[in-house]
């Protein structure tokens, strides 16, 4: 059956799986993508609710890899949004790149300090960004090995970049890179919504507070592609569709509603995928964007060393982000914001201290009474997303634990919705009255829907013990995943999550480099 023979099979039609597939297809390989859900997109898909098209999980772009976008010829229209750091005292701060000012146009006292900090972080982030362009260095081959030399070159570039910064800045980079965002931010800014916005950006999606080590890295990670935040026109689903189009144009077959039973492995080499309906799809390589442990289980634990299994079992992947999507019969009125500002990225993170405090209950299975929220009303930018006059509000709620005490019942979801609405009421009085439809996704729901372990944003925490050469874990950081021909290609691989595409592209390039495909 020629129908079921491909050079490579990709597990999961999230944007990373699709990128991996398209990249391989561009190299002339035949590829089939197998998706368990009934739709493509994974965390970057859209959903329909009350006649509106809403970003079911991810909603904004800021880390889309330009190289990926270019090589795949992605056609994604998107509009840059300002960030509005909401202030309980209505002294909202509007941030656009390196400028920060009050919403009413007044100068912010920390504007200069913020600009300097932002600029510095962006420069550092660009350096780190280089590391996202390929597999992390292994340096295991010894200095006379061609592979090692290539890696040294890449590292050398980083070193060179560091050198170019000048002595003072280089020292500063090395000082802050592993430290915590809280100290970094409050060394430069007084605490308030502006500092809170940076702190919240440093921890969104993470099981970490701004005082946790490694959060400067995660803040920089966000800025690795320039830091602009844009809203995709047509919704996040349009982004996923663009990735899918790029893949299908290259001849990639995408199959949804597929239930994978196991991998077919012989002589320690992947031979294909066995579906639960008994079909075998033959392939010389399998690239999986499922979680690392999930991939191991699909392949069969017996095919991995005990240490590798142990590392995967102990991966930190407690999801902390919930999604609340609202359909509103009218545009809510945010006090003190213009319509244009209301269309921005609205942050409820009143201070760096508040961000840290909001993390505390999550450690014990609870949710803060003052949750952190990143909300956007996409219908203000793209009117096609909802029926005339109605609006959608897409809210990412941080520090919502996967393992909620008492479990994720309907009542727990209703309670979360209530907390979010109550929090927003402080800034947009009457917003609760406008809700016609709502969708609440806990991290546990996100796990069920996408398979992402813990429902985690990055499939595995981006802690300093799980990034770069140890992502997802020591000895498995270069996409190859134990069994010959098996590769990781999703967010749990280097460089990590966000709608970015680098993990998928890098994995595909590694497959080519390793000569796995004939």
């Amino acid at each position: 059956m020629t129908d079921n023979r491909f050079d490579a099979v990709v597990i999961g039609a999230g944007h990373n799986g699709l990128t991996a597939a398209a990249t391989l297809a561009q190299q002339g390989k035949s590829v089939c993508v197998l998706e368990r859900a009934d739709r493509i997109g994974g965390m970057s898909r859209s959903a329909d609710l009350g006649g509106a098209t809403l970003p079911e999980m991810a909603h904004l772009l800021y880390n889309l890899n330009p190289g990926v976008a270019k090589s795949l010829g992605l056609k994604i229209a998107s509009r840059a949004l300002p960030t509005v750091a909401l202030c309980p005292a209505q002294q909202h701060v509007v941030i656009q790149g390196k400028t920060a000012q009050y919403a009413n146009g007044d100068a912010h006292p920390d504007a200069a300090a913020y600009a300097a900090l932002y600029q510095r972080l962006k420069t550092f982030a660009a350096l780190l960004g280089q590391l996202a362009e390929g597999a992390p260095p292994a340096l295991a081959g010894g200095m006379l090995n061609a592979k090692t030399l290539q890696e040294m070159m890449a590292l050398g570039k980083l070193g060179l970049g560091l050198k170019r910064l000048g002595k003072v800045e280089m020292r500063e980079f090395l000082r802050v890179i592993l430290s915590n965002a809280y100290d970094l931010i409050l060394d430069e800014l007084s605490d308030g919504p502006l500092a809170g916005a940076l702190a919240a950006d440093a921890v969104r999606g993470a099981y970490a507070g701004p005082r946790s080590p490694g959060t400067v890295f995660s803040l920089m990670y966000r800025l690795g592609n320039g830091g602009d935040v844009t809203l995709p026109i047509g919704g996040m689903g349009a982004v996923a569709a663009a990735f899918a189009d790029a893949a299908t144009k290259q001849g990639v077959q995408i199959r949804t509603d597929v239930d994978i039973a196991s991998l077919v492995i012989a002589n320690d080499r992947v031979q294909g995928v066995l579906l639960s309906d008994g079909t075998t799809i033959h392939a010389d390589a399998v690239l999986s964007s499922a979680g690392a442990m999930q991939t191991m289980q699909i392949a069969g634990i017996a095919h991995f060393d005990v240490e590798a299994t142990r590392r995967m079992r102990h991966l930190r992947n407690k999801g902390t982000t919930a999604k609340v999507n609202l359909v509103l019969r009218n545009l809510p009125a945010f006090t003190g914001l213009t319509r244009e500002q209301t269309a921005g990225r609205l942050l409820v993170a009143p201070s760096a201290v508040a961000v840290e405090r909001a993390f505390n209950p999550a450690k014990y299975g609870g949710i803060s009474k003052s949750p952190l929220i990143e909300a956007v009303i996409p219908t203000l930018t793209d009117t096609t997303l909802a029926p005339d006059g109605t609006h959608i509000l897409s809210a990412i709620v941080s520090y919502v634990p996967h393992g909620l005490e008492g479990g994720w019942t309907d009542a727990a979801r209703a309670d979360l919705l209530d907390r979010v609405v109550q929090t927003l009421e402080a800034y947009a009085p009457g917003i609760g009255e406008l809700i016609t439809h709502s969708q609440v996704l806990s991290p546990a729901d996100i796990e069920t829907m996408t398979g992402a372990p813990g429902g985690h944003w990055h499939h595995a925490e981006m802690g300093i013990d799980q990034i770069l050469t140890v992502r997802p874990a020591n000895l498995m950081a270069r996409y190859a995943f134990g069994v010959g021909g098996l590769y990781l290609c999703g967010a749990s691989a280097h460089p990590g999550g966000d709608v970015m595409g680098a993990a998928g592209r890098n994995a595909a390039m590694q497959v080519i480099k390793d000569g796995v495909l004939r």
């Binding site: 017996a302 060393d305 000895l475």
Partner: protein, 394 residues
């Protein structure tokens, strides 16, 4: 009886201690896995010759014993060890080795197969967490039986005769590495660490003393002796068996880099079954095989009669190429024998012109000598009686 609520302090008595203690003239004890174990009970010479000429009892209760059961038990054991346990039949014992992900030996031991769903692993090193990790994701249970099961090693040319007189005639047709339940709760395996005719007997702890008394009562006529570790160690070196922590460093127990050795380097390449599917360290071992051994553990014969334990080994009397890991004077073969680790290519391609550096003390004065070393490819002690089935009566 006083109820003890605290964790016992110091060394613990084995189930046979009540019999060993009165037999100890030497009062020479050691700690073995937390238990009190005799180094010597009488004299080493006496005990050694009892192993080779009569029959001996050695308390092996301190060995770690783990039971692995369940539908996936065979899969778990096959994941653990380098050889193919599906080739070990029910009622058989296999010598096994297991490695970490880098192909470095974690420990060696004996694997007792009750059935495809029931195994017992005996080894020197504590292995519970490793076994639990190995069994994770499989339908199998791991139970630490170290405390529940007592073991006695009965070794020597008259050991079968003793067994028969003790009422264990059922063991007559047992071949080496057979094992069976000869009576309810008494399991016998034809195994041992001496290279001689011998058996190991396994009973629940509560039945330990009864077993001892039964064997002891039948043994007088067959010259039975209780022995300590030192005599046994002489015999195991003669038989060419390796000891954990001595001839190789169990890789989980070392902190320094590069102390681990592969089974291939220790001379057990035939026990690494690359064709059985994945097992721990397989990929690394394949790479090692490709790259060639870095070391070899060689059996050597050293000139003279001064035991050479720890001696450095030189090529052309100049270049240091290895050292003795276990060295003894072998009373039976009348040779100065040893196991030695040599750095490749010595001992593999280069086998000549090797010298051991020996320190001798002549009436208070230390002197250094270089004596020639000859490589051996067979165990130093081989006796047909060890394998004869049925075993020879004496």
């Amino acid at each position: 009886m006083v109820k003890v609520n605290h964790v016992p302090m110091g060394l613990i008595e084995t189930p046979f201690h009540a019999r060993l203690e009165p037999l100890s003239r030497a009062k020479s004890w050691t700690g073995w896995a937390g238990f009190i174990s005799p180094l010597v009970l009488d004299t080493v010479e006496f005990e050694y010759f009892a192993i080779r000429n009569q029959t001996t009892l050695f308390d092996i209760s301190p060995m770690h014993k783990y039971r692995v059961t369940g539908p996936d038990a065979a899969a778990v054991m096959n994941r653990l060890v380098t050889r193919d346990v599906t080739k070990i039949a029910d009622g058989r014992v296999g010598y096994v080795m297991w490695c970490d992900e880098e192909g470095m030996l974690i420990d060696d031991g004996t694997l007792f197969r009750f059935s495809a769903t029931d195994f017992r692993l005996c080894c020197q090193e504590p292995m519970l967490t490793w076994l639990l990790d190995t069994a994770w994701g499989f339908d199998a249970q791991v139970l630490d039986e170290s405390d529940a099961i007592a073991g006695l090693s009965l070794q020597g040319p008259t050991s079968w005769s003793l067994l028969q007189d003790a009422g264990f005639a059922a063991a007559q047709n047992m071949k080496p590495f057979d094992w069976r339940e000869v009576e309810p709760d008494i399991w016998i395996s034809r195994t041992g660490f001496t290279g001689d005719l011998g058996y190991e007997l396994w009973v629940p702890k509560a039945k330990a003393l009864d077993l001892w008394d039964r064997l002891w009562a039948a043994g007088d006529h067959w010259g039975v002796r209780a022995i300590g570790f030192e005599a046994l160690n002489l015999c195991r070196i003669e038989a060419g068996f390796v000891a954990a922590g001595v001839d190789f460093q169990p890789v989980h127990a070392v902190m320094r880099l590069h102390r681990g050795r592969t089974p291939i380097e220790l001379g057990f390449g035939k026990m690494v079954h690359f064709d059985k599917g994945h097992f721990n360290g397989r990929r690394a071992l394949l790479q090692h095989r490709e790259a060639g051994a870095r070391y070899t553990l060689a059996k050597i014969d050293i000139a003279g009669f001064k035991p050479a334990n720890g001696a450095l080994i030189y090529h052309r009397k100049k270049k240091e190429v290895g050292f003795v890991t276990s060295g003894v004077w072998s009373p039976t073969t009348k040779r100065n024998i040893a196991l030695a680790e040599l750095k490749a290519p010595y001992g593999i391609e280069i086998k000549d012109d090797l010298w051991a550096e020996i320190y001798v003390n002549e009436e208070g004065r230390w002197d250094k000598r270089l004596v020639p070393v000859t490589l051996q490819d067979k165990p130093f002690f081989i006796n047909q009686r060890a394998r004869a089935t049925p075993p020879h009566p004496f």
